[in-house]
Subunit: 106 residues, 2 copies
């Protein structure tokens, strides 16, 4: 069995967000996303055709939804975002890495 | 959006393993499993019809496969276990909680 570690190969500092697919099958895709201070571009909204279940494993982030509600995610907080639910990353902590585990599925 | 925390409501000590479904849809099921010293019953093998992607978020555990190979999982280690791959939990650390995030899918 092929064992990998979710917290390995993480840079100390990063200028751009890192998005990596750690697993992919016909039905699901699992991503590791590492942020530090990045947010979605102004007026950009994610509006993806897949459902998403996302958990923050390290760090702190804020997600804004189209209805203007904002959720702040701390370590361990998780959220289900149904397909075609417009959302954007409003803020990620500039002072530490934020590590997300995101699962996309139909 | 309904925000929950994966690391909340965790007992300090537990006599039995705790298995909770934290998310479920037609296509996937996400479980939180908390172990402390438990292992699969003797001669018991998981042999499930779903694929499983599992990560250890806290603690330490060992999984044995039918071919007798054993993998030791530390914090952050993750593994894909295809459907109908016989496996068993050989050991979990008795001295700390092991917190697993397991995703089951077709």
């Amino acid at each position: 069995m092929n064992l990998k570690n979710f917290f390995s190969n993480i840079p100390d500092k990063l200028s751009d967000e890192i998005i990596e697919t750690v697993f992919k099958s016909d039905s699901i895709r699992i991503e590791r996303i590492i942020s530090q201070g990045q947010s979605s571009p102004e007026n950009f909204w994610y509006n993806q055709p897949e459902n998403e279940w996302v958990i923050v494993l390290e760090g702190k982030a804020m997600i804004r939804f189209e209805d203007k509600s904002i959720v702040t995610l701390h370590k361990g907080d998780y959220l289900f975002i149904p397909a075609f639910t417009k959302h954007r990353v409003e803020w990620t902590d500039p002072n530490q890495l934020t590590i997300w585990l995101a699962i996309f599925f139909k």
